[in-house]
Amino acid sequence: MAEAAPIFHFNDERSFIVEEVVARVSQAARDPLLLLNDAAWCEIRRLEARPGKERAEYERFRELARSIGRISESERRRRVEEVARHYAKDIAGNFDPRVYALSTKVLPTALSLLLSPKDLSLGLRASGKLREHLVTQGPIERIRALSRRGTVIFAPTHLSNLDSVVFGFALDREGLPPATYGAGKNLFTNPFLSYFMQNLGAYRVDRRIRHDLYKEVLKTYSSVLIERGYHSLFFPGGTRSRSGMVEEKLKLGLLGTGVEAFVHSLRRAHPQRVFVVPATINYMLTLEASTLIADYLAEVGRNRYIIEDDESTRVERVVTLVRKLVMTTGSVVIRFGEPMDPFTNRVLDDGRSVDLRGRTVDPATYVTRDGQPVIDEARDAQYTRELGEAICRSYARETVLLASHLVAGAAFGKLRDAFPGEDLFKLLRHRDEVFVPGDEMERRVADLIDRARALEDRGLVVLGPGVRGAPASAVLEAATRAWSGYHTHAVLRPAQGGFVLGDTNLLLYYQNRLAVTGLGFHPGRRRG
């Protein structure tokens, strides 16, 4: 039963959790003077220019900076606790089972409200359909079983601001317990959204605060939650993938709290098992595609990238997206990967860890010395790095290729063939220049599907529901239908007897989903 999940009792435990975090952060602080000074220095610089509300905060840190040199070591430790408590309280969310029950009914609506609070009626109409068109795949039965035996950390790919809501919706629909997650504080400024997120156990992450003490509090908070059985949702990519590619490198900070929580819990009478479940979230259309790819190109291209046009208005696009997403079955596919322990061993239904040869392994052996659990930062950082690598391998294998990815791949292949030897940024300048006859386009799509199928046979990628077994013409049709009228600039424009390659940035964006599999062009690698 999902209702047995600890998050349903979060409010009772809230102050206990905050105090636990404060105690651990204080204990772990090797040099309180340095920690406080770093915090004060960062905050004074950040808040200096901000008038009004945050003035008091600024003054507090000014006062701290002035006094820490003079006060005693025990007084410093007390100040560390004070600052940590302030942050921990700010981070900790709230969980209201009534709001949860309500929201699971209206979550799909909230999804559209998330980005377009103005248009309530549209959201309501779309919600029922989204239920049908969101496809979930993977060892869901096993994940459900594991969620009763330990803490599950869901670690999905990250493409869109819709991800956490779509993912939360999928968990509920599959009878999986809700997961707590850190959401950017900026999302809490919308009062409506803030109400939902707060009461769904989301905790607040203020990305503007960059000092170590804050990061410590945040990580410790996550660690304590995991240790206490709160299923968690991390986007280990850190931010949305700008390029559209599946993540090949992860941010390890929060992920590391999985290992840490496991070691901590070994000291107790009932150790808490920790299971990591990678997942891919695959969209036929990405809401923010144009902005994301422009960000990416501007960053990697620098002076090579020439900005073409601006993004269109937000509301309009959300409306179209929701309409588009509900049109096509399987336009959003969430695929869960094989669950593993924090040391990358596969986990069976009964919670046992097994190595690659199927032998049962006791995960405690990785972190105990002479029978005692030992925290070793360097060792655990390396375990976390390897966990990150294993998650990335899972992402590549569990990537679900949808019509838009394959058709963009075929079209981008044509673009490259039309201008052999040109580098990426020259290539992208050829908007609306290349005509592809319809039969050639179909042949290219068919060829790509064949190659994707060969990879799928080797377990290296997954064909989406609308692609498997479908003729190339249908796949081509599905992609063009999805794109048409959604992106401001046509991605693939139908013309006399064929197509014109339109928005080359978006072709790159959607084909980038193929990059890691080797089926498409990989902008980060040397040209092969």
Binding site: F343, D355, L356, R357, R359, V361, A364, A378, G528
Partner: protein, 315 residues
């Protein structure tokens, strides 16, 4: 005579390298157990080293296990080992080679075949004989886990052994393996009378080529210029008894690869490795003239004159 408290160490492999490591570890006063499948006790094994044929006994004896078996049996040995070790063991191998068609680093094989995560590798210029007779020498160890490099340093560092530490495991393994091929070339070149200046130039090119190849495989470039990289090559310049060099010399003398292999005391891993390395370089678009030449030498396709003129050519 050692700063490190006595800590049990287990060694796998009754060949020359297993013997050598056992000597070095026992010399530092650590309780040493050697696992060997051979019936008889190796000749020069110090009396204080115990020998067993039972892998489980080895796993119980020590947390740190040094694996010194030939690369062609390492997978099989590791699989048996996997049945008796757990996540607490440190596995460190001393094998100069990469496994199979995929050029899998041996540490990766250990991870695939056992539940162990904390793995590492030994490299560097020390010869087996240095360790056996107790000549001052240098070894390199690499692991992504500081605990592992600490343990190896504790076991091997002593008055006669300097242990150099790195975290770039891929770098050490690729560097060692590629050096193995360069040693063969060195032995060959010396035997056909390549003068020192040209030899220096050729080894430098070989080193840079090895660096490019290793980087393509995920190594850090600087690892190729460390003890297990350039240090290894510099030592080989005057290590006439290096088995790889002897194999190269035998090839230069007109022996076929099979004949040359048969004469060698240690198994030379380079012979099977080089064609795969050349294919790998091609696939990753890395220029690898020296390695292609070594491949030609192994296959017996070229004359000494052709090799010599190849070394002089510019493209």
């Amino acid at each position: 005579m050692n700063d490190h408290p006595p800590t049990p160490v287990g060694i796998l492999g009754g060949g020359p390298w297993g013997l050598a490591l056992a000597c070095a570890v026992a010399r530092n006063g650590h309780p040493t157990l050697l696992h060997s499948r051979r019936a008889e006790r190796p000749d020069r094994l110090p009396a204080q080293v115990a020998v067993t044929a039972d892998l489980a006994a080895l796993a119980r004896h020590a947390r740190l296990l040094l694996v010194a078996v030939p690369s062609d049996v390492v997978r099989e040995v590791a699989r048996s080992l996997g049945d008796v070790v757990d996540g607490a063991h440190f596995l460190v191998h001393g094998i100069r080679g990469l496994s199979g068609e995929g050029l899998t680093p041996i540490s990766e094989v250990l991870r695939e075949e056992t539940p162990c995560r904390r793995v590492g590798a030994l490299g560097g210029p020390a010869l087996a004989d240095d360790l056996i007779v107790g000549r001052a020498s240098v070894l390199a160890v690499a692991s992504r886990y500081p605990e592992v490099t600490d343990a190896v340093r504790g076991a091997l560092q002593g008055p006669l052994m300097r242990v150099s530490v790195s975290h770039d495991l891929v770098g050490l393994e690729w560097s060692s393996a590629l050096n193995g091929a360069l040693f063969v070339a060195l032995g060959y070149a010396r035997a056909i009378g390549v003068p020192p200046a040209l030899l220096g130039g050729f080894l430098t090119r070989g080193l840079h080529e090895a660096a490019r190849i290793a980087v393509a495989a995920g190594a850090e470039e600087k690892s190729l210029f460390g003890v297990a990289g350039v240090g290894d090559l510099l030592a080989a310049m005057s290590q006439d008894d290096r088995p790889e060099c002897q194999l190269g010399a035998a090839l230069a003398g007109g022996a076929t690869l099979a004949e040359a292999q048969a004469r060698s005391t240690l198994r030379v891993e380079a012979a099977t490795l080089v064609p795969r390395v050349v294919a790998f370089a091609k696939e990753h678009r890395v220029e690898a003239t020296i390695f292609a030449t070594i491949e030609a030498v192994f296959s017996g396709r070229v004359t000494r004159e052709a090799v010599l003129s190849g070394l002089m050519q510019r493209r």
